[in-house]
Amino acid sequence: MPGRQLIMDFPVTATSHLLPDYLARGGYETLKKALSTLTPEDVTKEVTASGVLGHGGAAFPVGRKWAVVKLNDGQPHYLCANADEGEPGTFKDRWILEHSPHLLLESMLLACYALQVRNCFVYIRGEFDLPYRRLQAAVEEAYAGGWFGENILGTAFACDIVVYRGAGSYVCGEASALITSIEGKKGYPRNRPPRLTVRGLYQRPTVINNVETLSNVAVIMRMGAEEFRKVGVAKSPGTQLVSISGHVNKPGVYEVEYGYPLDKFIYEDCGGILGGQKLKCIIPGGISTKVMTASDIVGVTYDHKAMEKAGSQVGSGGMVVIAEGTCMVRLLQVMLRFYHHESCGQCTPCREGMGWMHRVIDRIVAGDGRPEDIDTLIRISNANDGTTICGMGDAAGYATVGIIAKYRDEFEHFIANKRSKCGGRLEVEEAAHA
C-alpha cells in the first residue's frame, strides 16, 4: 500500500457499500457528534485548519472556498458534489460512489451543516450506471435512517439531497457548466466574475466540491485537523486517490499518501510496466496535465509542490502510464479528437481552436503533415491559454505543448517520413528480451 489509507481503509466485500457495514465502521458517528456539540463555524474552522486541497484537479484550498460563503446572510446556499468524473484516465471518484457512498453523504451533511445549506445536489455523470444505482440506494437508506429530511437526529438541522444525472458532456464537469446544467440549461460555463460562491446555482452562493474532496470532510472531522495534517506532507496534507491505467501491470484505484515516491508507486505498487517494457512517460493527473518522461519521475514525490517542480501537476489523479514503443503523435491525435468532440462551442478560441488542432493532427497522421504544422499546434495552444471562459482551452493547450516539448523529434519524424518513429501503435507488445 502506498502510504496510509484514509478513505480506502476497509476491505471491499459484497455488502461493504451498504448502510449496516458503514455503521459498523463507525459511520454517521461524526455527524452525530458534530450536530450535537459543534457550531457550523467550528466545522468550517476544522476543515480550514486541516489544509485539505481540492481533489478535482485545481487543488484549490477547500477552506478558502468555503470562507467566501457568508453565514446568516438571509439567502439560501447550495452545495454540489461534482461526480461528473469525465477527465480521461480518471475513475477514482467512481470508487467512492461504488464502494463508500455513505462516506460522501455523511461528508455532504457535514458540509451542509457548516455552510447552512438546505438543499444539496450530486451531479453524477450519465455514463455512471453502477455508481448511480449504489449512490441512489444509499440516499434512500440515509433518508430511511433519518439522516436526511427535517429535524435530522432530533436537531433543527434539515437537509435534502438530489442526485442529478448528467447527459454526457465533459464540460459539465466544470463547476459553472455543472450548475448551468442542473438549472436545466445547455451546459455552458459561465464568465467570472461573479464567482460561484457569490452567485452560483439559481443565482445563490454555491459551493461545488469534487466527490473525493467532500469525502475527506468526514475523515477530517473524525480524525481532527491536527491528526489529518500528520498524513501527507505539510503543503499537501492527506491522501490522493489515484486511478492508474495504461501500460501498467496492476491498473486500478490506489490511495496514495502525499509525499510517497512516484517511481516506487509505479514500479512497485502497480507492478511495473506491461509486457516487461520500459517506461516511456506518464500523464500524471488526467490528460490535461503535462507528460513526465521516465527520467522526470525519478526521485519525485507525489505531492503538489514536488510535481509542480517536476513540470507537471497532481491534477485529478488520473494517471496514464505509457510504455516505450507508443507513438506520441497518435496519442496526441486521440487526445485532440477528444477535446474537439467535447468543446462546448461557447467561446471563440476553444470552439475554433480545438477543431483546427484536430484537423492539423489528423493531417499529420494521414501523412500529409507540413513542417510548420508543429508550430501551428503550439500557436493555437498558446492562443487558448487564459483566453477562454473555462479552463478547457488551457487544458488542451497544456497537453499539446507538453507532449510536443518532450517529443518534438517524433512529430518531425512523422512529418518528414510520413510514418511513425515507433510503429504508430498505442498498444504494447511483449518485449523481446522479456
Partner: protein, 480 residues
C-alpha cells in the same frame, strides 16, 4: 475625481458599469461582437479583451472588458501590443470557418466582422485545413434565413428571443465548431412578432431577412429617418431607398423608387433599438396601387378644378361634417383645424383597424390602436365616436377606414385618399393626396412623444399634400 484609468487617461464611471461600457461612453474604441447594450453579457466572442496593469509592479493580465467590473484606480490598456496581438489571434479564430463570401452577403458594408478585421488583422487566412461545412440556407422562420457558415455563435439572437421578445424561439444545437443556431420545433420563432430584429443585431451576415435577401448592396442605399405608422407606438425607423446617384436607368424603375428595407432608428424614449415585424413590412403598406388622378364624380379633372369644386361644396353646405384621418401628421391636422375647424363638425376616425391574426397588443412595443397619430387628432378634434348630425349635407372623408354605407342619404362627398379604391369614382370630389414617404411631418405617439419623419421619395404628378389642399379650401372660405 476619476474612477479609473484607460490608456493612462482618467475616466469617470457610473456605478455598476463594466469597463466596456465606461470605455465606450468615454469615447475609447473597443471591438466587440457578442456584447449588446440591451442584452445580457455573454462574454463568448473574446474580442473585447483588454489588459489590466498589475498593481505594485505585478504582472499585467488580460480580461474581457464586457464582463469586467471597475475597481477604483485600476489601470486598463485598450490598445497595447499584447491586446492587439490577442485580438488578431481571436479574429483569426473567428475567420477560420467563416466563408468570407462578402461578395454575395447582404451584410457586407455594415458587417462588424469586416470592420474589426480591417482594424486588427488584415491578413489572409492562416488556416491550411478545409473549413467546416454547414447549412448555407436554413429557414429559421418564414421571414428569417440563417447561413450557418457565416455564424460566429455570438448568441445575440438567442438572447434576444429570451430577454427581449420573450418568445424563447431560438437555441443552439450541438457542440464545438458544429454549433448551430436553430429554432424550436413548435414554431415559436415563426410567431415571434419581433423576429426580424435578430437580423439587425447579428454582427455578421448569418441572419438575413427574406424580404431583403439579395435585393441591394447597402452602399447603394441611403436611410431616411421616419416614423412607423403601424400603431400608436410610433417607433422611429430608417427607410432605406436607393441613393440619388445610384438611381440608374438600367434598373427596373421600381428598384429606383421602392423602399428596400426598414430598420429601427434607435430611440431610447420610444422603441429602443427594436421594431416589430409589421414595421419591417411598411413597404407593403405604402406600395399599394396609388390614386393619381383627381376626379369629379368619376370624371378626370385637374387639381385646381377639384379644389374649386370642393370649395363650392363647402360654401354651399349648411351642415358639413369632416372625418379626420388619424394618419394625418401634426402639421396637417393643425392646418385642418386652423382653416376649417370653425366651419365643419369634425370627428376622428380610425383609418386602420387590427388585421385578422395581427398581434393586438403586447408588453414590448405593439399597441392596439393601429394608427400613428390618434393622440393629436383627438386632442384637436375630440374623441367622440363618429355620429352624423341630422341634416348633414356634406361629408369630407380624409383617409381610409370609413364604411361608406354609413354616409347620410343625400349628403355630398369630398374624399381625400392616397390609394385606388372603388369609392374614389363615386365621390362628388375626389382628391389624391400624398403618402408619408412623400412629405415631411411629425406624429405624436400615445405617450405624447413627437417624432419627425422626413421625405424620402418624390411625389408623383397629380397628387397633392393634404395640408396644401386644406390651405386652398381655406382661401375660398375666407374670400366667401
Amino acid at each position: 475625481m476619476p474612477d479609473f484609468f484607460i490608456n493612462g487617461q482618467p475616466v469617470h464611471a457610473e456605478k455598476g458599469q463594466t469597463v466596456l461600457q465606461a470605455a465606450l461612453a468615454a469615447g475609447f474604441y473597443i471591438p466587440y461582437f457578442c456584447w449588446h447594450p440591451n442584452l445580457s453579457v455573454a462574454g463568448n466572442c473574446r474580442v473585447c479583451v483588454v489588459e489590466v496593469e498589475g498593481e505594485n509592479g505585478g504582472e499585467n493580465w488580460s480580461e474581457i472588458a464586457c464582463n469586467m467590473p471597475i475597481s477604483e484606480g485600476m489601470r486598463v490598456l485598450t490598445d497595447s501590443e499584447g491586446v492587439r496581438a490577442q485580438r488578431k489571434q481571436t479574429l483569426q479564430f473567428i475567420l477560420l470557418n467563416h466563408p468570407v463570401d462578402c461578395g454575395i452577403c447582404d451584410k457586407a458594408g455594415e458587417c462588424m466582422l469586416q470592420d474589426h478585421h480591417y482594424a486588427y488583422n488584415g491578413e489572409p487566412s492562416v488556416s491550411t485545413v478545409p473549413k467546416v461545412k454547414a447549412t448555407k440556407y436554413h429557414e429559421l422562420s418564414e421571414r428569417v434565413v440563417l447561413d450557418n457558415e457565416r455564424c460566429i455563435v455570438c448568441s445575440r439572437c438567442v438572447r434576444f428571443t429570451r430577454e427581449i421578445s420573450k418568445s424563447h424561439g431560438l437555441g443552439i444545437q450541438n457542440r464545438g465548431d458544429h454549433s448551430l443556431v436553430r429554432a424550436t420545433e413548435d414554431g415559436r420563432f415563426n410567431r415571434d412578432a419581433y423576429s426580424d430584429n435578430v437580423v439587425d443585431i447579428c454582427p455578421v451576415g448569418a441572419l438575413l431577412a427574406k424580404n431583403f435577401l439579395h435585393k441591394a448592396r447597402v452602399w447603394y442605399l441611403q436611410a431616411t429617418p421616419s416614423v412607423c405608422p403601424g400603431c400608436a407606438r410610433g417607433c422611429t425607423v430608417n427607410l432605406w431607398h436607393r441613393k440619388r446617384e445610384w438611381k440608374l436607368n438600367a434598373l427596373d424603375p421600381k428598384q429606383n423608387t421602392e423602399i428596400a428595407r426598414v430598420t429601427p432608428l434607435e430611440n431610447a424614449e420610444v422603441n429602443g433599438p427594436w421594431i416589430c415585424n409589421k414595421g419591417r413590412d411598411l413597404a407593403a403598406i405604402f406600395e399599394r396601387p396609388r390614386a393619381l388622378q383627381p376626379l369629379l364624380k368619376g370624371r378626370p379633372a385637374s387639381l385646381d378644378e377639384a379644389a374649386g369644386a370642393a370649395r363650392r361644396l363647402i360654401d354651399e353646405a349648411k351642415r358639413p361634417v369632416a372625418l379626420v384621418s388619424s394618419w394625418g401628421s401634426n402639421e396637417e391636422l393643425a392646418a385642418l383645424k386652423a382653416r376649417l375647424g370653425g366651419r365643419v363638425t369634425s370627428f376622428v376616425k380610425a383609418d386602420h383597424l387590427p388585421a385578422p391574426g395581427e398581434v393586438l397588443e403586447d408588453e414590448l412595443l405593439i399597441r392596439a390602436d393601429k394608427n400613428p397619430n390618434t393622440a393629436t387628432a383627438q386632442q384637436l378634434f375630440g374623441s367622440a365616436p363618429v355620429a352624423f348630425p341630422d341634416g348633414t349635407d356634406l361629408v369630407l372623408v380624409w383617409g381610409e377606414g370609413f364604411d361608406f354605407t354609413r354616409l347620410p342619404r343625400g349628403a355630398k362627398l369630398i374624399y381625400l385618399n392616397s390609394y385606388l379604391a372603388p369609392e374614389n369614382g363615386h365621390a362628388d370630389v375626389f382628391v389624391p393626396i400624398s403618402i408619408q414617404t412623400e412629405r415631411a411631418g411629425s406624429y405624436t405617439n400615445f405617450q405624447g412623444h413627437s417624432s419627425r419623419f422626413e421625405r424620402c421619395l418624390p411625389k408623383p404628378a397629380g397628387v397633392i399634400d393634404a395640408e396644401m389642399f386644406f390651405a386652398n379650401l381655406a382661401v375660398a372660405a375666407e374670400v366667401a
